[in-house]
């Protein structure tokens, strides 16, 4: 008998056992993170006091401006579902502009992409600081102004008017479309799954819904729908919390869902990042170990009736 035959035969025994899915591992990971967070929170009291003082300062500063933010306890919630429940409360408790259909929502969007190991699939600009003027009902072109990043002031800058093309089925819903989305949880879940399936087809239902949630929240969403979306996300399997920084470098509490979407079934970690104090959505992150990560953040929208005067010289381009 060959010297290695016994080990080879043994190596083949039960070798068809597959690797576990991310959902299967999620409870163990959540238990580990819960314990890790306990250790993190057991820092000296002085740090906790500093956090509270800073939180108070932040709230005061924001209240003094145009935005009032409801505050919640500064102690980290125990679960991802709890973070999303607080985010749902924050969405409806926080003042939000009520635009007319003929107006624009003006907001800032920052995105940063980092690749690893020579991966090229992320592509595109590495850092984008942009301002967006989005037509509320989608009847007028949106204006996008991509500015050079602070780290690369000589980088490209471009301004474009983007028209909505109804014939393209995968277009992002306009704000007024979202306002009409169903309040009924089952119907909304179905709507999100539909949207998620357009982003990445043939996934399981929970993954489709999560993809729909993340996609829709990438632009302003009316508060009622935001709250309903957070509640639906809270019921999804495989979500957990962690501390992450958004694209502006602001540290927040994140709700992360792990999926096998990376190359060769590698783990992909997609997160929504919330303000630690107010639970207002700051942005998100997708991390695919070995390939790269993308960070994004959006600011709260303001209402404007017209586009900036300089946009009149721009030609309309492409579909949104």
């Amino acid at each position: 008998m060959n010297e290695r035959t016994d080990l080879t035969d043994l190596g083949n025994l039960f070798a068809d056992k597959p690797y576990p899915t991310a959902d299967r591992l999620a409870p163990a990971r959540t238990a580990l993170l819960a314990e890790a967070r306990t250790k993190r929170r057991s820092r000296p009291r002085a740090i906790g006091l500093r956090r509270v003082m800073l939180a108070g300062g932040l709230v005061a500063a924001m209240t003094a401006g145009v935005i009032a933010v409801q505050t919640f306890s500064s102690s980290a919630p125990a679960s991802a579902a709890e973070v999303l429940r607080l985010a749902a409360e924050a969405a409806t408790a926080t003042p939000w502009p009520q635009p007319r259909d003929d107006q624009y929502l003006h907001y800032e969007r920052i995105a940063e992409m980092r690749t690893e190991n020579g991966a090229s699939n992320v592509g595109g600009p590495r850092h984008v600081t942009g301002e967006v003027w989005a037509s509320v009902d989608g009847s007028r072109p949106d204006l996008w102004w991509h500015k050079p990043s602070k780290s690369d002031p000589q980088g490209p800058e471009y301004k474009e008017l983007l028209t909505r093309c109804p014939e393209r089925g995968d277009r992002r819903p306009a704000y007024s479309d979202l306002r009409e989305w169903p309040a009924d949880e089952d119907q909304l879940r179905h709507k999100l799954a539909e949207r998620g399936n357009e982003m990445a087809p043939n996934k399981d239902t929970a993954t489709r819904i999560w993809n729909g949630v993340v996609n829709v929240l990438g632009s302003p969403v009316p508060p009622k729908q935001q709250a309903a979306i957070f509640k639906i996300a809270a019921a999804l399997p495989g979500i957990e919390t962690e501390e992450l920084k958004d694209a502006t470098g602001k540290s927040g509490i994140a709700v992360t869902r792990v999926d096998n979407r990376g190359r060769g079934g590698a783990l992909s970690r997609e997160s929504l990042i919330f303000d630690k104090i107010s639970y207002v959505l700051l942005g998100g992150q997708e991390l695919v170990p070995g390939q790269g990560r993308e960070l994004w953040s959006i600011t709260r929208p303001q209402i404007t009736d017209i586009l900036p005067a300089w946009s009149k010289s721009l030609k309309r381009r492409d579909c949104l």
Partner: protein, 192 residues
């Protein structure tokens, strides 16, 4: 660059001394391997528990990790092995059941059972019987080599035993396995 992919296991563990949540990145790297290994020995449901216990125990002892060893997988297999031992009777029952009927106890689907039975040819059943008959510590060494694909040195590190002990346990276990395989086919060579 994301440290989740550019740092060694030892670097990650060292980071977790300051930032405990970084230990979750070690989980992302290795939990799948540990789970599959345990599931081959004990089935998926018990593997869920063992993986959770393994990473919690490793996290609690992360400051004892020897950071001169860049790869932490053997260290994690060591914790897993300790928790697997608590289920030794269930493990032996599992192998015996398979050796008798060619089906694992957790295969509850009729089609899955039929498929397993069909593939449980003359080699696999005696192998399972041999695994059931091994001493627990010999089986640990054998399966860390055959299933977890650790080197002798890594097994020694995982189980905190001298490398000579790894060799002697492995030789003892392999003799039993060879004997079981030899009895299935009279044309195979005799073991020297």
């Amino acid at each position: 660059m994301p440290f989740s992919t550019t740092l060694s296991d030892a670097d990650l563990i060292e980071r977790s001394w300051r930032d405990p949540e970084d230990f979750a990145l070690l989980f992302d790297r290795h939990a799948g391997h540990i789970h599959r290994y345990v599931a081959r020995r004990l089935g998926d449901d018990t593997a869920d528990d063992v993986v959770s216990e393994t990473f919690l125990a490793a996290f609690r002892q992360r400051r004892d990790y020897d950071t001169a060893r860049p790869k932490a997988l053997p260290w994690l297999y060591g914790f897993a092995t300790n928790f697997i031992r608590r289920h030794q009777r269930a493990e032996i029952h599992r192998y015996k059941a398979y050796s008798k009927v060619g089906v694992l106890p957790e295969a509850d689907d009729a089609a899955e059972q039929a498929l397993e039975r069909a593939s449980a040819h003359a080699v696999r059943r005696p192998l399972a019987q041999a695994l059931a008959s091994l001493k627990g510590r010999d089986r640990d060494v054998l399966l860390l080599v055959a299933w977890a694909e650790l080197t002798y040195e890594e097994v020694a590190n995982a189980l905190s035993i001298p490398i000579g002990t790894v060799r002697s346990r492995l030789n003892r276990a392999r003799a039993i396995v060879r004997n079981a395989l030899g009895s299935t086919d009279p044309t195979t060579e005799q073991i020297s």
